[in-house]
């Protein structure tokens, strides 16, 4: 019997899970990961993950405190949540979020919803784990412009952090703890209670226009669901979607130096997409209508553009239907869940 993931989801679950986990861990190889089913949406797969990364309550609480604490930035001015706002499904409203001293990078802040399922992190998919990803904004000049060793030194002087760190990991708040705890919190950010999910679970019906949009989305006419597939509405591939003919940000080529990777970025999940505007790797498209218009036009010419991106000849009413469907992907219980808010 599954406990359904919804707004009732509480710290209590973590305590239960933690206790179960400890037992499971001791039992060694048997059924360790299944405890996830208590707090993940019932129709989502069990994330395949190292058992160590399944958070205990103490780890979750520490990670959450760090996530919302400006202590991570060099001048104490901003936290992870500054650019990953719970009310926006942990994304930001600006095209490019400003870091310390108002410095601008060149990419749009992604939603952290269901990040546990991401196989590769960052827009070019260069990092395999959340723990490694945590280091990136900490060190980026245009983000926290800080150093995890210095953060660690600072946390060591704060008794509350030392106490919480000991409780969670049996060690002081060193870089190991900081990266693990923040990742632990982020791994709990499940979002699977949108109207679309309720529809899939037979709890609600879509309106006619939403259903028309869903059918268009899944159809060969649009091919949206070729890339935005599966329960996350992404196949997690790295692709060029023809946004530009010349890319200022070369995307995956930054890592590989291979021209065939120019302008390729990770396909994002469309969950909560109505909240995570603006769109594209650089936040250059402001509305869902603009995004659909981009795909409807077939995009700009680029040698790496995915062959599925071609003019779609969608009518205005079809565009409206697609927007209506995409708007059903908003999970209001996720953005109001008290467990994920700063206290």
């Amino acid at each position: 019997m599954f406990i359904r993931y919804n707004s009732k989801f509480s710290i209590f679950n973590y305590i239960v899970i933690s206790i179960l986990l400890c037992n499971s861990c001791n039992k060694d190889e048997e059924g360790i990961k299944y405890d996830y089913s208590h707090f993940i949406p019932s129709h989502f797969p069990i994330p395949i993950s190292n058992p160590d990364s399944i958070p205990t309550e103490a780890q979750f609480t520490l990670g959450k405190k760090l996530f919302f604490d400006p202590v991570l930035s060099r001048d104490g001015s901003l936290s992870c949540a500054s650019c990953h706002k719970p009310s926006l499904a942990f994304a930001d409203t600006v095209s490019v979020s400003a870091g310390v001293e108002g410095r601008l990078g060149n990419r749009n802040s992604p939603s952290l919803g269901n990040v546990v399922y991401q196989k590769k992190l960052l827009k070019e998919g260069g990092l395999p784990t959340l723990e490694m990803q945590v280091l990136v904004p900490i060190q980026e000049h245009a983000e926290f412009d800080n150093n995890i060793v210095e953060i660690s030194d600072k946390l060591m002087t704060i008794p509350k952090y030392v106490e919480m760190s000991q409780a969670a990991y049996k060690r002081d708040p060193d870089p190991y703890v900081i990266t693990r705890a923040i990742s632990a919190f982020e791994r709990t950010l499940f979002s699977g209670d949108s109207k679309y999910d309720q529809f899939l679970n037979g709890r609600t019906k879509l309106t006619a226009i939403e259903e028309q949009g869903l059918n268009l989305f899944m159809s060969n006419k649009t091919n949206c669901s070729n890339c935005h597939s599966g329960f996350l509405l992404t196949n997690q591939n790295i692709e060029n979607n023809g946004l530009y003919s010349v890319y200022k940000d070369i995307g995956a080529m930054r890592l590989t130096q291979n021209p065939s990777d120019e302008g390729k970025f990770k396909i994002p999940s469309l969950r909560n997409i109505a909240l995570t505007y603006p769109y594209m790797h650089d936040g250059s498209l402001k509305t869902l209508e603009e995004v659909i218009e981009h795909y409807n036009s077939g995009g700009s010419n680029h040698k790496n553009k995915n062959t599925l991106i071609k003019p779609l000849n969608l009518s205005q009413s079809e565009i409206e239907a697609l927007v209506a469907f995409l708007s059903t992907l908003t999970d209001y219980n996720f953005i109001t869940n008290k467990n994920y808010q700063n206290e």
Partner: protein
């Protein structure tokens, strides 16, 4: 004898030469590039089809101060974009040639080269060259037709020559007018404020300025441990703008009088959104907001501190401003923020002879 003949010949030839060319320096196209010092500002992405040249900038500057661009030849761009006021207008709404008032505050003209996301408060011009021709034709502004403007310029020998120097085709036409104005406006760079000198390590902030800077760049902390004014989310980057359109909570839905960005995009989600202005030279460029409703920097800060209004399009970034008590900034905090904002003034912009009236 031969010598006399030779000298006479030279004199004759020279006389003929002068007779045919009364101008000692006949105008020829000259594409010598104009050098811009960005000093600490990033090198902008300038349009590749309008290379900035010395002669093009000279022409653009002449045109910027040229009253022939308006009906009855009584106003120039510089009438409402006044150099000593940071190329903005001290009046809430500028008065056009027909003595009618515009509907929005004149935007300051400097560091235009970094704008990549539209011009005007609502972004209705995609490029600076497109922007440059709109006030000329606006009935509330210069109210002139482009054909009339071109005819007036074509009647001027001075402009005939300068268009030849500035453009390979030498033509006095709408496109070249807009390209020359674009070139000149791109050269109006402001990068010599106290803030810039502090960034370069040449000066230091006072204690109050430093506190103001920290408030400016700090996120609001709901726990109250740290004070933050949240300004940097939108007023970010080297020019203190993220170059995008937002509703900053000036009005409730019922009070909104100007649709802003929605006029361009036709999308109701863009209602009452306006371009984030640069805060450089903010002390020079009052009054503030798209409608110039605030006369002082204090009024602006007080708006963000406790007067932000809820509406259907107010940005999520205003979430803390909208809470009861707002940002909780004290009068000392407001004074510190203002002190920091005053460091963004570039006094040299006001007097730089390269940007002044050439006449």
């Amino acid at each position: 004898m031969n010598k006399i003949l030779a000298s006479s010949m030279i004199i004759i030839v020279l006389s003929i030469f002068y007779a045919c060319n009364p101008d000692e320096n006949p105008a020829v196209f000259d594409n010598t590039p104009y050098k811009i010092e960005y000093n600490g500002l990033p090198t902008p992405d300038l349009p590749s089809d309008n290379v900035i040249t010395v002669e093009g900038v000279t022409l653009g500057r002449m045109l910027f101060y040229e009253k022939m661009l308006s009906k009855n030849s009584i106003q120039s761009c510089a009438t409402c974009h006044v150099q000593i006021d940071g190329f903005s207008d001290k009046n809430q709404f500028s008065e056009g040639v027909e003595k009618k008032l515009g509907g929005r505050q004149a935007m300051p003209v400097f560091n235009m080269a970094w704008h990549q996301n539209g011009f005007f408060w609502d972004g209705r011009a995609a490029s600076l060259r497109e922007q440059s021709l709109k006030p000329i034709q606006d009935p509330l502004e210069m109210n002139e037709t482009l054909p009339n403007m071109i005819a007036k310029l074509q009647a001027s020998n001075q402009y005939k020559d300068q268009f030849i120097r500035a453009f390979a085709n030498g033509q006095i036409n709408e496109k070249n007018v807009s390209l020359a104005l674009e070139q000149f406006m791109f050269t109006i760079i402001s990068n010599n404020s106290k803030y810039d000198r502090v960034q370069a390590g040449k000066e230091q902030f006072s204690a109050s300025e430093e506190r103001g800077k920290n408030l400016f760049f700090t996120e609001f902390d709901p726990s109250g441990k740290v004070k933050g004014a949240e300004c940097f989310h939108c007023h970010s980057g080297p020019n203190f703008t993220n170059d995008d359109y937002f509703n900053n909570g000036l009005d409730s839905d019922l009070e909104m009088k100007d649709d802003g960005r929605m006029k361009v995009t036709k999308n109701s989600l863009d209602k009452a959104k306006f371009l984030t202005p640069s805060l450089r030279n903010i002390a020079l460029t009052g009054p503030y907001m798209h409608d110039g409703r605030f006369k002082t920097i204090e009024e602006v800060i007080n708006h963000y501190n406790q007067n932000v209004k809820k509406s259907s399009t107010v940005d999520v970034l205003m979430q803390y401003n909208l809470q009861a008590g707002g940002l909780g900034l004290s009068s000392a905090d407001v004074a510190d923020l203002k002190a920091f904002l005053l460091t963004l003034s570039d006094e040299t912009l006001k007097s730089n002879p390269a940007f002044s009236d050439p006449n």
